[in-house]
Subunit: 166 residues, 4 copies
């Protein structure tokens, strides 16, 4: 049985990676919505698009886990990284929309520097995930390494992730 | 693997359509319950019937996705559109019940014009989804096109969807 | 495909019955917890036992749906009704515990007559579900008919279900 | 059918044990978070690690249930008990972090004796679950018996589980 349990490692790997990355997105979502006090229809839709990204994550992660090291791993990595490009873009849209001064969706006592730091941290997302995607053609290891490094970067609180002087 | 992933398109299609349409129902539900401040037993039951419609949606959607373009697609479309006829009727019943002046279920500061606009937007639902259902016998494309157009119509906020003069 | 869809009726039947009966339990739970204002460890455990009953329901319901009209339907009905005997007992324990005057778990402004009516309605549960269970040996139809009648009885608000004079 | 139902006992056993043990963890989580009033990023992450433990539980439990009494039951028990060692460690970290005076995460009116009692009860967890794990090599029955006894111990409220004098 020991070997049977070990033989299922792609399932464990994709479960743990999906759990961790969705957890990091949840923490980020929590960070944004401690600042957001009101919502409107567009914010609801952007939030649903974020949820779409989150619920999709386990599928490309499982595809990567089962095809890693095989001849067709590139397709898996493209699908996987494309999902994160999508999520990073939606996070930026949602935050840009919510934090826009003219819409008054943020809490009144919100700290302007804190809002700016989140915007600056998130701006790295789409660009760097596209680099991840491009790296799929160069090296699977490099692509995954950058993808995992980005997850760590977005797990960091904004005041640690981006330099304090703004 | 690329072809394997592409070959699963009916799953993706039905997942995305179900997600989108349930999302639109969630936004509508959210709109109604920002006006509703109290509940009673009948409202709980109508709300459960709405939930029944929502949890059922992925099944007929998957049936349509797997049978589209085949000889028996009409049965699939009838099942699919019948689900939306049911949901549209329940939405109307729930809103009519909740917004009835004598039951005092709405918030005290509710805007009468806003209540009226929702009633007018929802009144289109049952009739037009029955047209969708009837179109299944004429043309599958027309039936789906009207169904998707209706989803967009119900995604619109009431003050955009129905003319402002009331 | 029409015949294939029809051929799955036991799935639809058990889904609809489970959904309806869990819905009725949800409404009852909602009724109890509009009166309950505080909780303690025993109430948490009784609430978990109720949740256990609720999550189990779809299994015996599916067993009944797939074995109805077959020679071994009695075993299915015994399992099914035993689940409801368990749920009815837990509902009674939970309410007796929560409504006990010395524990001060109810809201302060709770209506004594309303508490009494719930106690009287729930007292019918365990006895009548045991009758349902016993009827499994006499007639499957009678057993299911009484079970469904009881679901309707518990869907009724207490002031309708039990006579108003107390 | 009676024999078929009985033949699925490992499924029922692992379902019931998972449900019960997750229920006990839920009660403990509830106990902690009635004292915790504020949260920060580290607490969010520790809470996610706890959630990871909770969602994993049904897997090793099912592995134990299907392999009990077979030659390879030790591997199953090691996996099972290792999960609880992990959960016990995370519960301790989370509570130590949250209850640390310098972080001000607890409610202001929190009872110091009550905080101390939880710390003392939880301190038993990691050590005793490691004993459980070690017992897997000696006797499967002893390992499971201690594991179940520990579940009961953690179901007890802290003021009952640890002596009142502190």
């Amino acid at each position: 049985m020991y070997l049977q349990l070990i033989g299922q490692w792609p399932s464990y790997f994709s479960f743990l990676v999906s759990f961790t990355f969705i957890g990091i997105m949840w923490i980020n979502h929590h960070r944004l919505f401690t600042h957001i006090a009101r919502c409107d229809d567009v914010l609801l839709i952007l939030n649903l698009l974020l949820l779409l990204g989150v619920v999709v994550v386990p599928f490309p992660t499982a595809v990567v886990a089962t095809h890693l090291g095989q001849s067709d791993q590139r397709t898996a990595l493209v699908l996987y990284n494309a999902t994160y490009v999508f999520i990073a873009i939606i996070f930026n849209f949602l935050w840009k929309y919510a934090s826009s001064a003219k819409r008054h969706l943020l809490a009144k006592d919100v700290d302007a520097a804190s809002v700016k730091r989140i915007s600056r941290q998130y701006a790295f997302g789409p660009v760097l995930y596209i680099v991840c995607l491009a790296l799929s053609w160069v090296s699977a290891e490099a692509s995954l390494a950058l993808n995992f490094a980005l997850a760590c970067f977005f797990a960091l609180p904004p005041h640690v992730a981006v330099s304090k002087e703004s």
